[in-house]
Symmetry: C2
Subunit: 316 residues, 2 copies
Amino acid sequence: PKMGRKLLPEELLITTGSSQVIDLLCWALLDRGDWVICEEPTFLGATGTMYNHGARFLTVPCDSEGMKVELLPDLIERALASGNRIKFIYTIVNFHNPLGCDLSLERRKRLLEIASTYGIMILEDDPYGWVRFEGEEIQSLFSMDEQGLVVFASSFSKILAPGTRVAWCAGNSEIIRKMAVFKQGTDTCTSVVVQAIVWEYCRLGHLDSFLPRIVSHYRDKRDGMEAALQKYMPAERVSWQKPKGGFFYWISAPGIPAEELLKRAVEKKVAFVPGEAFYPTGTGGRDDFRMCFTFASPEMTDLGVEKLGEAISEFE
Amino acid sequence: PKMGRKLLPEELLITTGSSQVIDLLCWALLDRGDWVICEEPTFLGATGTMYNHGARFLTVPCDSEGMKVELLPDLIERALASGNRIKFIYTIVNFHNPLGCDLSLERRKRLLEIASTYGIMILEDDPYGWVRFEGEEIQSLFSMDEQGLVVFASSFSKILAPGTRVAWCAGNSEIIRKMAVFKQGTDTCTSVVVQAIVWEYCRLGHLDSFLPRIVSHYRDKRDGMEAALQKYMPAERVSWQKPKGGFFYWISAPGIPAEELLKRAVEKKVAFVPGEAFYPTGTGGRDDFRMCFTFASPEMTDLGVEKLGEAISEFE
């Protein structure tokens, strides 16, 4: 998750949350009607912002190793052949939202090759990379990029506090300069009061000492949800992959529409996000849903998953 | 400057500086190519943001009572006749940036009538209203608006600290809701850390006790610049109006191009903002410039104005 190399000052921009990175990159690159390539499913906040800027989406399905990058060349060729301009590829590399998976090193390398072949920029969104419970860190796209095609984004939201609204992005000086210009047109600058607080917090070593604690705290919650899922989920109807970090479980329940399940679950006071919300082209996720494990207490998680298991079992 | 009435929660939106109010109102109202009516000259940051959103500008000249609102009906009629859509009127009501003048009560009432006749919204930008050195407070447009056409914007930037990046806007619940939706696409929310700091600061009464001090501090600086202008400016070549509040002097120097004057002034280590920057249609301000009096020390202001007077006198 670490960016993997030192930055020059002109390669860095502090932003008001990493949602602003997306907003500013859109300002800098997108004209209405331009295309963005993203994983499907993907973070709906990101595609929502891109949509506001008039983006249209080319989507790539994922498996347990993340975006199926081998599908990209064909997708890109077809889009270019029909005269579409592709402005960037949006990818959540570590502990994907909503899938929970990592983009494998192999695929990262291949993705960079493809981006470089077609001269397409990449937005590497990595809010969860620091929240790793096990396994080896995988090199960032940014650290392997030799052509300045990657804009890396991360945030203090998941490792300090979400209300901080201090995030950052790194990229080639040209794109960062453009984004900084547009930043002046949106909020001028990120609150220097809160920047100073975050700086002091880091400088005094609090982040370094807090990180292992929060990671361990979230790991316990992940383990709690995993145990509850094993205990209460009807194994023949649902499947999931245990995430190695991040915030989310992605549950597949073939034949059980998540929207309908949500209605029944809410009656039992359990909520989740139905999968369709994460499909910008609206063509999937009907029988999938996302559960966040970082917020609820172990008891509530256990009770919630039990109730959810009941709701699923009640489906014909 | 006070808004003049109590707000319902759904009429209020906290923003990341009041530049974000402009950004969000543009998101909520503007399609590319739509028209915005503004004073000329006006705050270049505001028109810059609107320009990013594809706004085109209809401008209204000002005199010592602010926008010449009697010109509006004709301007609007002609624009509508040629099929243009006018989305809102942008006005800085108190201690105008860059002019320093107030929009008179008479004109405020007339402006509301006109806006209501044509059903055009008004963005009442009031960052300086609390910084009044003398004279009577003038009722806000927002407080007199009975039809929900006015969005009022103000900020803690000028009365607490600019780096705070906490501002607010108030308007009818429908427009505020739309702006809140777009806010989620830009920075999600304004830092709750800094919101909490500002809240505590206000709650403990520090803002109330600080305001008279900062106003008096700025009044002294205004008086210092006024005295220096009287002392050093060649009276036959330049004119200005003493502002009753705010941050700025607007100096007119007929026959002396401000861009050229700036070059010579910079050699004497004096800087100001040439007037043309404040003309979104680029059709005026050539012989005018803006000076900010709130930053420099009295000694520096005196020395700076002396040097500037020299530079002006050196013009043929």
